[in-house]
Amino acid sequence: MKFMMMMHTPRGNGEYQVSAWSPDDLKAHIAFMHRFNAELATAGERVDAQGLAPPGQAKLVRAGKDGAPVTDGPFAEAKEFLAGYWIVDVDSPERAYELAAKASTAPGPGGAPLNMAIEVRQVMSAPPTDE
């Protein structure tokens, strides 16, 4: 079963909270994420993992009356934003929660775990298709 784990990050100085951290803290955080992603791949649980560009570049699009796109934004005022996501393929929801909890412990300033919010939602599966 597949789950999407969405990493919600508080905004900070600049758009990325991490931009206010010390170089060593930043390095430790990056190393943690690097290892975490490698472990997911080794365990065969990683389907996809992507970081998203900051919300300052995000646009909200919907079709207007004539069907042409109408854009709004960027929306950079939000307190938190979606920084990136993983899609994992695991045996149980509990395993997805376990992985999300591990991602949540990524180190922040002073090496203390951030315990940031990771939203976990199951990816709905499509019925089998004939090729």
């Binding site: 991490v18 170089p23 390095k27």
Partner: protein, 424 residues
């Protein structure tokens, strides 16, 4: 054994495809047939051994597939058409596996010209080149570009359909057209190389495969056109840039700028080969943009320590390049070189006109370079602001992390170094 078969198939694929497509004239159908022959070889050869004439074997199998296709088409048409009957007579004869094929050395080049057709977008041309000339499977190409296999398969199908719809025959372009098409081929190879070299996020190994593949293909073109300065220059540029690969990233995939790299990790043999190529290309005739970029890479590669870099020479080379092509990225690099020779304020002054260039306005790289020059000029607050702006503008994770770290180090009161705002 498996490695040998794979390498052999990659070498033979374009030759066989060229021969089959030339004979039949239908690139899309030929490509399908050769793919099937390659799959058959990849499954049979490791167990049964490589046949005495592997190229003939592949040609034979591919031709048989083509014959099957033609036969079913014939059945559909009930063989009413006299012309079709003639074609059938031609295709009924499949040469024995050891027959001389008369494979033309230029077939690889013809394929490259086809794959880099002006009707195709860059991504389509890249995908088709990697599949038809590079012999990569659709799955391999998809994984290198981090897209699903079905997406890549569709892209390749669309590319083949575009070529068919364009009506351009499978042959070398006319002499007048040839230079222009060669330019497109080199551009596509350059893009393949960059895709493999520029980003280390995601699946690292597959992307190294891409830069290796670009080098292999550039070598093949160079072997066919040894006297072409553009080709030699591009191959030299790839070799001289790729020579630094091992030192460009740290253990966690972090970007290490040129002046902080461990130069003992640089590939000396590749540097020597690149220097020889670019020297010959520059003395042989008029300088091309690729040769000039290769010459700049060579100056960097030949410095034993970062501080030994011959910046005046690099500045002069960028000056020539800037005259040759109106490219804001060249202007940006020219400003960096000027700052290294004449000081940061000289570099900052050269950045000012770029603010008015719509191609550069708001581009993160302009912010990154400006941040670096401001830092060197001692204006740390402004430098931090531009480093952060650059970090928010890039979509490459290693670059973003690098830029955030620069801002963080500066904010923490540590001096950062580095002539290249980004090692590109």
């Amino acid at each position: 054994m498996a490695v040998t078969v794979e390498h052999l198939l990659r070498e033979l694929a374009p030759q066989v495809l060229g021969a089959v497509a030339r004979r039949h004239g239908d690139f899309a159908a030929a490509e399908d047939a050769v793919q099937e022959a390659l799959i058959a070889a990849a499954t049979q050869w490791p167990a049964a051994g490589i046949p005495a004439n592997p190229r003939g074997w592949l040609y034979h199998v591919a031709l048989r597939r083509m014959t099957d296709q033609v036969r079913s088409e014939m059945a559909r048409r009930r063989r009413e058409d006299a012309v079709a009957t003639e074609v059938w007579a031609d295709w009924a004869f499949v040469p024995p596996p050891d027959a001389e094929l008369g494979v033309d050395r230029d077939d690889t080049l013809v394929l490259l010209f086809m794959c880099c057709h002006p009707a195709l977008t860059d991504p389509s041309a890249i995908a088709l080149t990697l599949r038809a000339v590079g012999g990569l499977t659709t799955a391999e190409i998809a994984s290198a570009f981090l897209v699903p296999e079905a997406t890549m398969a569709q892209r390749i199908s669309r590319a083949k359909a575009s070529i068919k719809a364009s009506g351009v025959p499978f042959s070398m372009p006319e002499p007048g057209e040839r230079a222009e098409r060669l330019g497109a081929v080199l551009h596509v190879l350059y893009l393949i190389f960059n895709e493999g070299y520029a980003s280390t996020s995601g699946a690292v190994l597959q992307r190294t495969d891409l830069s290796n593949e670009a080098i292999r293909l550039a070598r093949a073109v160079h072997a066919l056109l040894p006297n072409d300065a553009d080709v030699a220059g591009l191959l030299a540029l790839m070799l001289l840039t790729d020579a630094r690969r091992a030192s460009r990233t740290g253990p966690d995939g972090e970007l290490i700028p040129l002046d902080e790299q461990d130069r003992t990790l640089w590939n000396r043999a590749q540097i020597a080969e690149g220097v020889a190529l670019v020297s010959a290309a520059l003395t042989g005739g008029s300088a091309s943009a690729y040769s000039l970029q290769a010459a700049i890479a060579a100056v960097h590669d030949e410095a034993e320590r970062a501080e030994d870099t011959d910046w005046p020479q690099i500045l002069a080379l960028y000056g020539v390049l800037k005259e040759m092509q109106e490219n804001p990225m060249v202007a940006l690099n020219h400003a960096i070189a000027a700052a290294m020779v004449h000081g940061p304020s000289a570099g900052l002054a050269l950045l000012t006109p770029l603010d008015a260039d719509p191609r550069m306005r708001g581009h993160y790289r302009l912010d990154a370079v400006r941040a670096h020059l401001l830092e060197r000029a001692g204006d740390h607050d402004a430098a931090i602001a531009h480093y952060r702006a650059a970090a928010e503008g890039t979509t490459s994770i290693p670059e973003r992390n690098y830029l955030i770290a620069k801002a963080a180090r500066l904010a923490a009161g540590q001096r950062t170094t580095g002539p290249a705002a980004l090692d590109r």
